[in-house]
């Protein structure tokens, strides 16, 4: 056994003083801030210390109706009349403004959602900016993107985003929608509205015509009203498989185009010829990135039997130096769990894992006394049929299983209703291609994990949803095709 380290890190807190939070946020409809017709507000809480952040408007069906009306009007009168090149210029401008405000956006994201500042600063926000920049360039090249087919905008897109990557998911949805000529009504997740509202300000500053982007904050009922609205042409949803299926059902019999990016239980496979230290680091990133609140998290680790003991030993050792702490602290590796509700879900799964007879390992670390935190958790001796190996936990919980042959691991990896992503660690290029062909997943990472890029299509097989976001393929979700 390797000796345990005993490092003490000096706290290095990013200052939130530069953020001027408003006491109360309204809905962003038709280019203006409008009080909700519902007259309701809800509280947004900082999951890092349970402190109150702001009151946020809780839109109801009437508010959604106003927003859709504004989006329709903007589509009919302005946006559909602009050339692709002009639309692209707005998107380029938005991308630049986002880059200029990246620090503020990063701090907001971390305050609101609990993710480590290191991640929001280095990953979420830059990727979100890049997504706008990338799709800006497509706006005047749509016809070239789909040779042999006539393409046109759909109209009004209703978009519902999750709380795990609030601004990034907004970018994944809004950027291609606008590039393709649609207008948008976006409903951000209730626990993470702030960066979407900041984005509304950026749209104003960019001079984006009123009504092209509308943001209606609220809970599930707000989203349901958006899905049910008869004048919405397209629904894009990222979130849980259960809610995705409800949305799917609501769209049947309507002419709404639908894309769903749902849950996952992605396999991460380490073969015996893999560079082990790199793979171990990759495992840490695959499951503990963003507290494991990642739809494509590598939550099922499969290690080839011959190296399993070594990998496990190194993983446990590495876990000792993972810093769970305040999200604004630049040292933090694992920040706060997004909400009390999610923390309870994760804790329920951890108890379930124990009840199912799996072996648990958690490092010795002290969690902050206030806020929602969870230790990084490994489970070994996990049966393939165990619920912790089958169901999405959406937290820093990893199940570890072993295998002997490639055939066996392909079978185990594919034995899931999900098919979002997979990871493969090996030194052999041919093996990467071979396994990639066999794994039923929309994204396969080789010797890396949780990598994203605006040019790279993302989306799942099976119950992980349908449609792709990113790249040329991501345009299809927002276009009407005719031969």
């Amino acid at each position: 056994m390797m000796s345990q380290t005993n490092w003490k890190l000096e706290p290095s807190l990013e200052s939130a003083a530069q953020i001027q939070l408003q006491a109360q946020y309204e809905l962003f409809i038709d280019g203006k801030w409008q009080k909700p017709l519902s007259k309701n507000y809800f509280n947004s809480v900082n999951p890092a210390d349970e402190s109150h952040l702001a009151k946020i408007a809780w839109g109801n069906a009437e508010d959604v109706d106003l927003a859709v009306l504004a989006a329709r009007r903007a589509y009919d009168t302005v946006w559909s009349k602009l050339s692709g090149a002009e639309r692209g210029k707005y998107l380029f401008r938005i991308a630049r403004l986002m880059q200029e405000k990246s620090k503020e956006l990063a701090i907001l994201e971390t305050l609101d959602g609990g993710k480590p500042i290191r991640e929001s600063r280095d990953i979420d926000i830059p990727l979100a900016c890049n997504h706008f920049f990338y799709y800006a360039g497509w706006a005047d090249k749509l016809q070239e993107a789909f040779a042999g087919q006539q393409v046109s905008a759909l109209g009004v897109a209703g978009q519902i985003t999750p709380w795990n990557f609030p601004l990034l998911m907004l970018a994944w949805k809004v950027a291609p929608a606008l590039a393709c000529g649609n207008t948008v009504v976006l409903k951000p997740a209730e626990t993470t509205s702030l960066t979407a509202l900041k984005f509304a300000e950026i749209c104003q500053e960019a001079g984006l015509p009123a009504g092209v982007v509308n943001i209606v904050t609220g809970y599930g009922d707000t989203g349901a009203a958006l899905v049910a609205h008869p004048d919405v042409d397209k629904i894009a949803f990222t979130g849980s498989t259960a809610v995705g299926k409800q949305i799917h059902k609501a769209c049947i019999g309507t002419s709404k185009k639908l894309t769903l990016e749902l849950g996952g239980k992605s396999a991460n496979i380490i073969l015996e010829d893999a560079p082990i230290d790199q793979a171990v680091e990759g495992v840490i990133n695959s499951i503990f990135f963003n507290q494991g609140h990642v739809c494509c998290a590598g939550s099922r680790l499969f290690v080839q039997e011959s190296i399993a003991e070594r990998v496990l030993e190194k993983l446990k050792f590495r876990l000792q130096s993972i810093y769970v702490g305040h999200p604004l602290d630049k040292n933090t590796d694992i920040g706060a769990i997004n909400s009390k509700k999610q923390l309870e879900t994760i804790e329920r799964y951890i108890s379930l894992g124990l009840a199912e007879g799996a072996e648990i390992y958690q490092p010795d670390c002290t969690l902050p006394s206030k806020g929602f935190y969870c230790k990084p958790t490994l489970f070994t001796d996990v049966a393939q049929s165990a619920r912790i190996a089958q169901e999405e936990v959406f937290g820093p919980v990893l199940t570890i299983q072993t295998f002997r042959t490639m055939e066996e691991v392909v079978q185990k990896a594919n034995n899931s209703p999900y098919g979002l992503a997979a990871g493969v660690w090996t030194d052999k290029g041919a093996r990467i291609f071979g396994l990639s062909q066999q794994l039923k997943a929309g994204v396969v990472w080789a010797n890396t994990f949780n990598k994203f890029d605006p040019a790279s299509p993302f989306g799942g097989y099976k119950e992980s949803g349908f449609g792709r976001e990113g790249g040329r393929h991501g345009l299809s979700a927002y276009l009407k095709f005719s031969n």
Binding site: N130, A147, G148, Q149, T241, G244, K245, H248, K249, I252, G253, L260, L262, P417, G429, I432, F433, S436, Q437, A441, G442, V443, V444, W445, A446, N447, T448, K451, D453, A455, S456, P457, F458, G459, Y461, K462, E463, G465, F466, R468, G471, R472, H473, F481, S482, N483
Partner: protein, 290 residues
């Protein structure tokens, strides 16, 4: 004394009778009895799905060029049996001109899709310029087992138009044939059986759509559905049942003789896009000399 033909199901490359032992009368528009067809059951659906699943991996693993040749072989065999299809179509109420148009268009459509089998990948896939040191590429991949409710208006062309674009992409299919006019579908099975299409790649059931479709649309080992318009309630039921395992559902409603009834979109509708990130080693000091 005429030798009458017994029309059976086509499952796993075999021609079994329905396990239910039932049949129903196929009659011409004038009410004349033409033949008996198998009235397929829920169990037949499950058997067909099982056969389709068993055949899928190896069908998808064949080279695209090989699939292209096999589909072209279907066109050849179809052409060789022109007369039989013309007879059946006419018995079911087409005039000679209509029957001829349907058969010729079906053969043409086979040839058309045979040519697509090893080309759509180049158009649907991409190499994506990511910022990190990775070779990032997206390729289309078969969805798996696809359930097809064939066109209820035509006996042959609808079947061909729906099944071929699904097939060439490496999917296997379970087809519920035209309920009233199932004969061409079974004769087509005889074509398939002699066209090097491996057993289980295409499975054909005859009988009542309303009896078999609920099992097909709710089946957890079916990945997608292609449905020609059927009674609205039944269609909605199928779409709702399909949600359980998120089957991809497409409604095929194009006028069959239109240009737009064939093309790349019908292929891509039954393909998943898989994106792989392959590491690229950076060679220190490497210079692009020439």
């Amino acid at each position: 004394m005429e030798i009458l033909k017994t029309y059976k199901l086509y499952i796993g490359g075999q021609f079994p009778r329905t396990e239910s032992g039932r049949s129903y009368a196929v009659v011409s528009p004038s009410g004349q009895h033409i033949a008996n067809a198998c009235q397929g059951s829920k169990k037949d659906v499950r058997n067909a799905v099982q056969a389709a699943r068993k055949a899928q991996a190896s069908w998808a693993a064949k080279s695209a060029f090989n699939r292209s040749q096999i589909i072209y072989r279907i066109a050849e065999m179809l052409a060789a049996r022109r007369g039989q299809f013309l007879e059946e179509l006419q018995a079911l109420g087409s005039d000679l001109e209509g029957a001829t148009q349907e058969v010729e268009s079906s053969i043409d459509r086979c040839v058309y899709y045979a040519g697509w089998a090893d080309k759509f990948q180049s158009l649907l896939g991409s190499v994506n310029p990511v910022a990190s040191s990775h070779f990032n590429f997206s390729v289309p991949e078969a969805m798996g087992v696809v359930g097809v409710v064939a066109c209820q208006q035509t006996a042959l062309l609808g079947f061909i138009s729906q099944v071929l674009p699904v097939l060439i992409g490496g999917n296997t299919v379970v087809v519920i044939a035209n309920q009233k006019s199932p004969l061409c579908a079974i004769t087509l099975a005889e074509v398939l059986a002699t066209s090097d299409v491996p057993g289980g790649v295409v499975n054909i059931l005859t009988g009542e759509v309303s009896e078999m479709l609920p099992t097909l649309s709710a089946h957890m080992d079916v990945n997608a559905l292609s449905i020609s318009p059927i009674e609205a309630k039944l269609q909605q039921m199928a779409q709702e049942e399909a949600i359980d395992n998120l089957k991809r559902v497409r409604i095929f409603a194009e006028p069959l003789y239109a240009e737009s009834a064939q093309g790349l979109p019908y292929i891509s509708d039954f393909q998943e896009i898989k994106t792989t990130w392959h590491p690229v080693e950076q060679i220190a000091g490497g210079v692009g000399g020439y």
